[in-house]
Symmetry: D2
Subunit: 284 residues, 4 copies
């Protein structure tokens, strides 16, 4: 017995669901869970399904090959698959803020995040001790105007060597170089400390304070070439009072950042996030 997750995007057409579900049934599989969405205006179809199959009837590879030459070709699908129990390999990039790192690693150790974390990478040495406390390798690759190209090459080499599936920027205070964005499209998750599109940029809590908003937020999104403008995965908000100083907004915000980032990572791991255009479908 094995379980598989299929994630599908294609132009909307009659009969896709019938075809896919019949295909699974014909291979003696059992659909455990199906999520489906159609964007009518854009004629786009999205589906995620989990199915259980039996090695004796059809191996994983045979199933994948048959699906590719069957429904995937018939409906011109952009699709991917993953064993349900696969643990993606996640790299964590940090700078000096430790709260998101503590939070992710605490969840990792508790078994809440079904990932491998081969390493933590930083442009500063400050958080090496956190990595050490959690017994995860820590690499310090400084990034300056002069070393930028070399740093990018080192980063790419490390990501490749460790077969990283996706990257989490846990308050990594650096612009991600295009070479990484290209290679890990829809696989670099950032946490922005505001309710985007309000207050993009470097100091959102100060901007929120200046504007006198009554609610602050945090936004997790995939990194794209345009800063803070990638597809949004998850957002959350918290109420603030006039009496909150910037420092208190920051403290409140940290809790939001941790939870929003952790939820985005969980959705990503489970392949529940489908990117199209600059938006996401999130099957929660």
């Amino acid at each position: 017995m094995y379980a598989i997750t299929l994630v599908i995007q294609c132009p909307d057409k009659k009969g896709i669901i019938a075809d896919v579900t019949s295909f699974v049934y014909a291979h003696k599989g059992n659909i455990q869970y199906i999520d489906q969405y159609v964007d009518r205006e854009n004629g786009a179809f999205f589906m995620r399904l989990e199915a259980e199959l039996n090695e004796d009837n059809c191996s994983y590879d045979a199933f994948i090959n048959a699906f590719q030459s069957g429904p995937a070709t018939a409906f011109n699908m952009d699709w991917s698959h993953q064993p349900l129990d696969y643990k993606p390999r996640m790299a964590v990039f940090v700078s000096k803020y430790d709260h998101c790192l503590y939070d992710l690693l605490g969840r990792y150790k508790s078994g809440e995040l079904a990932v491998e974390i081969p390493f933590i990478l930083s442009n500063h040495a400050d958080l090496a001790h956190v990595a050490k406390a959690f017994e995860i390798p820590f690499y310090h690759i400084p990034v300056t105007a002069n070393t930028k190209t070399k740093a990018t090459e080192e980063q790419l080499a490390m990501l490749e060597q460790h077969q990283i599936d996706f990257i989490v920027l846990a308050r990594y205070m650096q612009i991600v170089p295009p070479a990484l964005i290209d290679k890990y499209t829809s696989n670099i998750i950032n946490i922005h400390h505001s309710f985007l599109p309000a207050f993009p940029g470097a100091k959102p809590y100060h901007s929120a304070f200046e504007r006198g908003v009554k609610i602050i937020g945090a936004t997790s999104h995939y990194v794209t070439a345009e800063l803070d403008a990638g597809p949004i995965i998850e957002q959350d908000v918290a109420r603030v009072l006039h009496s909150h100083k910037v420092a208190q907004l920051v403290a409140k915000g940290r809790d939001l950042e941790k939870i929003v980032l952790a939820n985005a990572v969980k959705h990503h791991i489970a392949k529940k996030v489908l990117v199209y255009g600059n938006k996401t479908v999130v099957f929660i």
Copy 2:
């Protein structure tokens, strides 16, 4: 062209989704939206789907009959159907509180609720003026210890005469008689002014105040024989402060009641609520 909503419950088995979706496809229908859930522990399967069909290929009645003798029989389904544009006939029961009534009727007039409201019924005459302002017939059926049986009969007669599909208790401060509950099982929606199961009974805001909770709630549920214990459809909460007096809890609570009840009614109208055991599946 016509559109249909199918809602299905049955024992979980391999191939249900494939069978149903293939059935729709074979009748030249197009599935617009599918929601599905399996309760593995109880081996129970739930599905709601919206499909578009063509009169020329298959009439509504022909489709229904074929589905009954096809998948419905094969998988032992408990199922129902409704034209997507059907406007259920909703009776509103009230007593003296007007906020939920104003809210429902405001939404109704705005076109937000896809229902017909043949009448408003009350055990008191107080809210006749509201019904009049919104030009909806209002019937006053007093309920006392002596008139209870007669009142129940009158209510049943009115509900039948007006072909009522479901009843909304918009703060109707009376126990609903078993005869109504039996006839309109899973079709009587109540709003309870607390976060059930906390503070059941008549004065939840006073109890919440006494206990010093920091959050109050409202719960919409189907009415069953046991008071305040029926399947929960929707809940929401709001933060309160130590400085809030009971009257302020009541005022805050009224807003919750309005929104929670309206959302429950909307889900019910769209046939998105499936009852099983004492719980609900809500496909939102």
Copy 3:
């Protein structure tokens, strides 16, 4: 016995609270409630207090005069006062959307809003029937490029004639003319259908849909010369899903708008909102 609300702003200095509270005590008053806030960065002091006094010891007018020549002068206060049971006179401006109007009037009739509503004013005739149902005078003053100046004059005349204290724009789809803003500074409350500063302008739900946000909001603010940029009084948010179409965002948003606007109006009525710079202190 009478009760009074005092609202004070002044430069921060030692001893203000002691002076004010001693003043009340010296006039045999009893402070029922005190709220205080200091913005240290700007050296600004804010206070709101409710006190009970006795006509026999000190009349309302005598108290006010003594306060003016006493603490108010000593600390260079910008202050105002109001009998605790005063019902401000509120004008409601609307266009064609009825949900906020229904909501405000429902609350008004329920006794939830301690105001008088001398009239409803609109640039369209569409909602006359709502005003009629609630038995409130309705005036239709069309606003076109040509009639703008005359319309403003008529509006000002009506506001003056009815001794209006503050104006609520319940989805009034017109730019408020400077003459009104000047005359009713910090007394015109608008509801904007987004989480400002995200998505200012005319079609925020469409913008939110385009950007793919996971949360939408509503913002109530005082109207200033700059569009959608006045001091924020209240905000709230609701979660949305990828499957929500613009129409559903709009429906969800309407509930937010109603509640956010109603809360802002309640805070304003109770003189709990203090404006300074482009921000507010809200003593909730």
Copy 4:
């Protein structure tokens, strides 16, 4: 210069605020922040104030003594004081769940919690490694039916020896013995993994699942003799879906527990929580 926090409860009477604020002013102090609340029904007055004073004018001890013989005696106050920069000494009790512990220690290391943590105590050895990673002493005091009395004595001795001010039960799965409750009344903070008073007892997530609630919660409260019935400090909630299994409720709940407990601890540290009867006043 020094800053002091005063927290006061007393029977409500005319002139308390005037008297206290004048007292501070007479000692050349400057009130930075004042919070006040009166429970009229019970005639109870509550106040918290922060003031800045000058050693040259009045030492901390002199101020305290003068306040005791002055306002505190005059109004029969139950009061306490603390230097604004005092870091209370907090003991953490845990069993086997690590998420609240990781969260508290992460915040502590980030400087978010202004406390000293002299030790972590557990009835199991499981979490010793967490304590070690954060370099905090860990004591393992097993509690069995036989060793209960001895364990209590050891706990009391440790608490005394380390001059502990308050105890946080970070998912400590043991009944706290009466001897500790008596000695640390209103100084033992528990996190209960439900929205009390719904689902008290040992397995609230299972009960919530059974009841089919649409929202789950967490409650932080002071420990009293009656289980799960002490004064509530903080609560929060999260939405759940029918598709969430118990394990997912547990995971969602862990995030609530962390945040609710951390907020309760922060309020307690800042002396913002006043207990009266079985309720709290929380000046946030």
